[in-house]
């Protein structure tokens, strides 16, 4: 019970009562965490302010947009001022504005001293928010460390990403790339080839030349310096969206 009081949970699925208002939801969940009386009222008001729903506090949750519901879902996890907050993909399925608000509030909570364990499929979110990152693949923790520690594992590699139109078949190019010097790994997804290489800039010319020789038109080219997505690619051999 003592541990339960120290942790807050923000589940991925909305765990709220749609026929209660935001205020009633927060008040009920606050009671479940042992808040009562003036403290409960104060914390409910503070959290409503924090999640930006003070003016809509007396509306039933079922009238809210998806983003507003997500914010209430997060608010429930914050009511009792947990020292550790678990957030399971809190930005799934919401609009960019709400997503930005959630990411900012997570950073603010952390700045105030709360430890946040944030689960996400979006590497850019992990990159923006995290001090330490764990990568789980098929249920196994395959990497754990600070961002710099993880990117250090692939620091001498870039990722060259080739984009093709949907009518193009890049398979002959994938086969040909194996023979080009500097290509460490090739991963293909829908109309896209990711090439892990020590130097993406040096690889552009031979790759374009090879594609030209094979009559394959490259739609666009991106270069990505080492980041968490590259780390994931490096460790698993698959792009995250696989």
């Amino acid at each position: 019970m003592a541990v339960k009081k120290c942790i807050g949970i923000v589940p991925q699925e909305l765990a709220l009562y749609e026929d209660l208002t935001a205020q009633e939801n927060l008040s009920f969940w606050g009671q479940m965490y042992g808040l009562s009386g003036r403290e409960l009222t104060t914390r409910t008001d503070e959290v409503l302010e924090q999640i930006g729903l003070k003016d809509k506090a007396k509306q039933r949750i079922k009238t809210y947009s998806g983003g507003m519901k997500r914010r209430v879902n997060i608010g429930v996890g914050l009511l009792h001022r947990p020292r550790l907050l678990f957030m399971d993909e809190p930005t799934v399925g919401i609009d960019p504005q709400s997503r930005r608000a959630i990411l900012d509030s997570v950073k603010e909570l952390n700045r105030q001293g709360m430890t946040v364990l944030y689960t996400t499929h979006y590497m850019e979110e992990a990159q923006e928010l995290s001090h330490r990152v764990g990568i789980i693949d098929h249920g196994e923790l395959i990497a754990l460390g600070t961002q710099s520690e993880l990117t250090h594992q692939v620091q001498e590699t870039d990722t060259l990403i080739l984009h093709f139109s949907e009518y193009e078949d890049p398979q002959p190019l994938i086969n040909a790339l194996q023979g080009i010097t500097g290509v460490q790994r090739v991963v293909s997804t829908n109309h896209e080839i990711s090439i892990v290489t020590p130097s993406a800039e040096k690889l552009i010319a031979p790759v374009v030349s090879q594609a030209d020789r094979l009559g394959i038109k490259i739609y666009s080219i991106d270069i990505r310096e080492p980041n968490l997505e590259a780390v994931f690619l490096h460790l698993t051999g698959r792009a995250l969206r696989d």
């Binding site: 009081k5 589940p11 909305l14 009920f28 969940w29 479940m32 039933r60």
Partner: protein
């Protein structure tokens, strides 16, 4: 703190159910509407002064009998005692009377054929020969008014029963007097006729039917048909409420709020107790509203308030037990919805919500005792007849026992399924 959380969970559930319009419709509006509808069918709201709920039953009498029994029957049907209940019209044309029944202008028609009296009471002129001829009263019932026609038929049967008792008594008396030599055969007809005259007076002097019951204390209590209909409907829709409550446990499990509660510093016992109390209090509130509403709107007297409360709490407790069993054994909201509805109707039928089950075979009445409805109806009817807390102790005890057994079964199964474990 532990109890506070239990009541917080319960209060949350009560608020949720009272905000669900469709649930409220079935919990409160449906039993009210059905009570009004069935009350209207039985004539409860026809404005008559009688509190039986059935009044001014239109009836046509065609009396072709010139004897005393025919006249006695007509007089009885027109008597002051039956004035509020029956609205008899005496006609001479049997065909016209039948047409009135066929056209739904009357609930029933009674035809008293010629020689009805003579077939039963030997006259000094006709002698014993006429007794061999069987003459029967004809009764035409309107099939669209089964309740009213049934009441008229019962009154008629009671009259004929009294006549039959008198006839047999007369025969036995005359036979014994002859056998013992107190009278001779020539005097037998005269004595039989004399007994017959007395029989006419006794059978026709007062009505056989009065919707009046006598309480244990000896005072008369008039019975209101709504006192049968209203508890029947309330108890049937009570099962809907507890099914809804059971459904909320399954829904909370699916939508993640149950898991969220169990992750918080709240025990599974607190959560389950809160849900049970929530269902129970909702059921109590539903019954209180229905009882209060029918009392205020229709002037229905439910009986001794203390006993009504005891029975109400016991019925809600037993029904909540059923709700928890449903939640424990079924897995999806669809299953709970369909099986809960079926159970509500089956219990409604078995419990006598739609018709009186006292005339059904014994085994049906035995099976009906698994439903809170049957025990509840027994208790509420007893109270409507003037019963007290003492007289409803058996249904109250049965309902409490039923609830306790069902709670144990539900708790065991919920624990086994791990429904409230995290």
């Amino acid at each position: 703190m532990a109890m506070r959380k239990i009541f917080q969970v319960a209060w949350k559930d009560i608020r949720l159910i009272f905000r669900d319009r469709s649930a409220l419709t079935l919990m409160l509006l449906a039993p009210f509407v059905l009570t009004i509808g069935m009350g209207a069918i039985t004539g409860r709201f026809s404005g008559s002064s009688t509190s039986s709920g059935v009044s001014d039953i239109p009836l046509v009498i065609v009396n072709d009998d010139s004897g005393q029994l025919g006249s006695a029957l007509v007089e009885m049907l027109q008597s002051e005692d039956l004035d509020a209940l029956l609205n008899p019209l005496v006609m001479t044309d049997l065909a016209a009377a039948r047409v009135m029944v066929d056209n739904d202008n009357t609930a029933a028609a009674i035809y008293i054929p010629p020689d009805f009296t003579a077939s039963i009471i030997p006259s000094s002129q006709l002698g014993a020969a006429t007794q061999e001829k069987v003459v029967q009263i004809e009764f035409y019932a309107n099939p669209t008014r089964p309740t009213s026609a049934g009441i008229v038929r019962t009154i008629l049967e009671q009259f004929l029963s009294q006549v039959e008792i008198g006839r047999i008594s007369g025969e036995v008396t005359v036979t014994q007097l002859l056998a013992n030599g107190y009278i001779n055969p020539e005097q037998a007809v005269a004595v039989g006729s004399s007994i017959g005259q007395q029989m006419v007076q006794s059978s026709g002097s007062t009505s056989s039917i009065k919707l009046i019951n006598v309480t244990e204390g000896g005072g008369p209590v008039e019975f209101d048909t709504l006192a049968y209909i209203a508890p029947g409907m309330a108890l049937m829709f009570l099962m809907y409420t507890v099914t809804y409550g059971g459904l909320s446990l399954i829904k909370e499990n699916r939508q993640g709020t149950l898991a969220r509660m169990l992750i918080s510093p709240t025990t599974s016992t607190q959560v389950l107790s809160g849900k049970v109390i929530g269902i129970f209090l909702t059921a109590v509130a539903q019954l209180l509203i229905l009882i209060g509403g029918t009392s205020l709107l229709f002037g229905l007297k439910w009986g001794d308030p203390l006993a009504v409360l005891a029975l109400l709490f016991a019925a809600a407790f037993a029904a909540t037990g059923w709700g928890m069993v449903i939640a424990a054994f079924l897995k999806t909201p669809g299953q709970v919805g369909s099986i809960g509805s079926a159970l509500m109707l089956i219990f409604g039928l078995l419990g006598g919500s739609f018709f009186d089950i006292s005339s059904l075979p014994g085994w049906v009445k035995t099976i009906s005792k698994i439903s809170p409805n049957a025990w509840g109806m027994e208790g509420f009817l007893d109270l409507a007849h003037g019963g007290s807390i003492v007289s409803v102790r058996t249904p109250v005890f049965a309902l409490l026992s039923m609830g306790a057994v069902l709670f144990c079964a539900a708790a065991f199964w919920i624990s086994r399924r791990g429904l409230a474990r995290k």
